[in-house]
């Protein structure tokens, strides 16, 4: 019986390291940054501009991490924005209601903390809802999260009666909009924390291992004795928690809470994941890749702002095109890989 032949990696591949997708992304990042810097050095290379980039991306950066987890599990989470909105609204309402008049700084901080924890709780509950629909009722993740998104967003609209939560105590925006050491926005720190946590979970924990296996083959996972339901719950609850943090960040930026924040973020998060090489069918994804992809997209996005002639609407167009192009590229490179691997097909 012919044995499989595995070709030894070429020298070039050895040079590119064992992580060709990360290398590719790093190169892209450098190219994009350089291009922007060359086009408008006066604006792009200033400290303020860099800080604004760092400030903005965590909102959908955290959402991208949420999306990534769902994708790795072999599913998708289309409710991330809805959860963010609801969590933001809920925590802002609590913040307004529980904040005593003329609260001192320590008290205000405490109330803020409680409000944030409340947001996280809401996120977790929403995640549990999606998980129940997916793992216990058996609705395919795409439909389940579209459905739960409707429900969750509907709740958000109902609570705010279509308007917004206003007159927030200043503590929220004060804390979130400061820059640590003068240069690092708090939002970036939040994102960094989330990224490190997710990365740890994926690479070091038993949960992460099982998640990847589940995403690779749902049936084999069950047959191997993995507790698929538990893994799904852990995943979507985590996704919900991450989404809730994004919601808090958005409320801080706008100093209010509305049910229509971040509507384009779902597509963006998906785009980030696809660019980062996360397999939309499940089983593979790296936080490193997601971070690089986020930075690339943010630089591009901020870059568009430097050219006032390109209206915001073009953004949708370009994101869509980029998504398609990446998928085409991924498809062809996958075929190339498969041919190289000498699989015996009966």
């Amino acid at each position: 019986m012919p044995s499989a032949q595995v070709k030894a990696p070429s020298r070039l591949q050895g040079l590119l390291g064992r992580e060709p997708d990360i290398t590719r992304l790093t190169i892209m990042l450098i190219v994009v940054y350089a291009a922007m810097a060359l086009l408008r050095p006066g604006i792009f290379l200033t400290k303020d501009y860099t800080i604004s980039i760092l400030y903005l991306f965590p909102e959908y950066g955290v959402l991208s991490l949420a999306m990534m987890l769902a994708l790795i599990s072999g599913g998708i989470d289309l409710s991330i924005v809805a959860v963010a909105d609801l969590a933001g609204i809920a925590s802002c309402k609590l913040l307004v209601a529980a904040m005593p008049e003329d609260a001192s700084l320590p008290v205000a901080t405490l109330v803020l903390l409680v409000a944030v924890l409340f947001a996280v709780l809401i996120g977790a509950i929403c995640g549990a809802l999606s998980s129940t629909l997916i793992a216990i009722i058996g609705i395919p993740p795409m439909l389940a999260t579209l459905g739960s998104a409707d429900l969750i967003l509907g709740l958000a609209v109902a609570i705010t009666k279509g308007s917004s939560v206003k007159n927030l105590p200043p503590i929220l925006s004060d804390v979130v909009n400061t820059n640590l050491l003068g240069v690092i926005p708090v939002t970036t720190v939040v994102f960094a924390f989330c990224a490190i946590l997710v990365s740890y979970l994926l690479t070091q924990s038993s949960y992460g291992f099982k998640l990847v296996m589940l995403g690779s083959n749902k049936v084999a996972s069950r047959y191997a004795g993995l507790h698929n339901t538990k893994i799904i719950f852990q995943t979507y609850i985590l996704s919900g928690i991450l989404s809730s943090l994004s919601g808090v960040l958005m409320c801080a930026r706008f100093n209010s809470a509305r049910s229509d924040f971040g509507t384009s973020y779902t597509l963006q998060a998906l785009l980030v994941c696809v660019l980062a090489g996360v397999n939309p069918k499940g089983g593979y994804g790296k936080v490193k890749g997601v971070v690089l992809a986020i930075l690339i997209l943010q630089i591009l996005s901020s870059g568009f702002n430097m050219f006032p002639t390109i209206s915001n609407f073009y953004r949708n167009l370009i994101w869509g095109l980029v998504l398609l192009l990446i998928m085409v590229y991924n498809h062809f490179s996958e075929r190339h890989q498969a041919k190289k691997m000498a699989i015996k097909i009966k």
Binding site: G147, D150, F313, G320, H331
Partner: protein
């Protein structure tokens, strides 16, 4: 009779009837002529889209770009008419819109067939491109004064009914004829042409379909092109019904349509579904959103209520399928193939 009971469509119809009775008892306004006309009117756009969505899902694919196709086609045509001052026959608008939609849908089909990428992500991408094109390149905005031919059409009615009790009247636009037309064409294609059977075949088992000799890529392209053309026509229909051209009017309707047809028994995994089911599902959801007002539910709870009902409805079908998985379906314990009485047995 037993066969009817097994069919999903029966239960949806039953639910619709029950819901109608509930609404009638609470508000007394359901089984009125004017409510029915309102319902019919609201059903036109989602109904037409749903039969197209049904075809897509049966083939094992998904399309979330059709609202964008709809809006882009309709805006392009209306704007074009406005700029050129077109005064000719109005059906040209529908044909043009349909052709643009056909073209856009064909792009989806070609990407799906050639590259074999997951169609959810393909259509998410193309949907954004089409929307972005309309908003960015065409710089879309609301057109409240329609070109004459279209404006005239939007005032053409089949008939009008009056509700003496409430003192209102409802009119059924001529556009309503498009709904049964669309439904019938899809039903005929799906049931009586090899193309339609091919769509079911692909949704059932794509490899077997290839082996049997079906031209799978062409069928995929057809399905998406048809959806696109239908979406284009629906876009113009929407303009005519509302009396203005609002380029964001259909955003989000993809979810409603997909949920409707799934409620109507069309499986998201492909291969199963009927036009009847799709229409019933559309009717159910339309009833729900229309009637919430009659039930006295404030408008800002509408989205939530619809969301709950969708989730519950889809959940029920999904849970049944899940339970079936955990049980042995074919009856192993009994003897399977039926014995043939001796007289009829084949003599070799």
């Amino acid at each position: 009779m037993k066969k009817i009971l097994r069919r999903n469509e029966f239960y949806i119809a039953l639910t619709i009837l029950l819901l109608g009775i509930i609404i009638q008892t609470t508000s007394g306004q359901f089984f009125t002529a004017n409510n029915f006309v309102d319902l019919a009117r609201s059903l036109i756009v989602p109904g037409m889209l749903c039969v197209g969505v049904m075809m897509i899902l049966v083939s094992g694919n998904i399309d979330v770009s059709f609202p964008a196709i709809s809006m882009l086609s309709m805006y392009a045509v209306v704007k074009g008419f406005e700029i050129t001052g077109y005064q000719g026959p109005v059906f040209a608008a529908f044909i043009l819109s349909g052709l643009i939609g056909l073209f856009l849908g064909a792009i989806n089909g070609i990407l799906a067939a050639w590259l074999k990428l997951p169609t959810l992500i393909i259509t998410l991408g193309t949907g954004s491109v089409y929307l972005g094109f309309m908003q960015g390149v065409l710089k879309s905005s609301v057109i409240s004064v329609l070109p004459k031919p279209i404006a005239n059409l939007s005032k053409a009615y089949l008939f009008t009914v009056h509700n003496a009790e409430l003192g209102v009247s409802s009119s059924l636009s001529v556009m309503f004829v498009l709904l049964p037309l669309a439904a019938l064409s899809v039903a005929l294609i799906m049931r009586y042409t090899m193309l339609g059977r091919g769509i079911y075949a692909i949704g059932g088992d794509i490899i077997s379909a290839q082996r049997a000799g079906f031209r799978v890529p062409w069928i995929q392209i057809f399905v998406f092109s048809f959806m696109g053309a239908l979406a284009g026509v629906v876009g113009m229909t929407r303009v005519t019904l509302t009396g203005m051209c609002q380029p964001t009017t259909l955003i989000g309707i993809e979810m409603t349509c997909i949920a409707s047809v799934v409620l109507g028994g069309v499986r998201i995994t492909g291969g199963h579904g009927t036009v009847t089911g799709a229409l019933l599902g559309a009717l159910l959801l339309t009833m729900i959103s229309n009637s919430l007002i009659l039930l006295g539910i404030p408008s800002y709870w509408t989205k939530f209520a619809t969301g709950v009902l969708i989730v519950v409805g889809i959940g029920i079908t999904a849970y049944q399928a899940l339970r079936a998985d955990r049980r042995v379906m074919a009856n192993i314990l009994q003897s399977d193939a039926k014995p043939i009485p001796n007289g009829e047995r084949d003599h070799a």
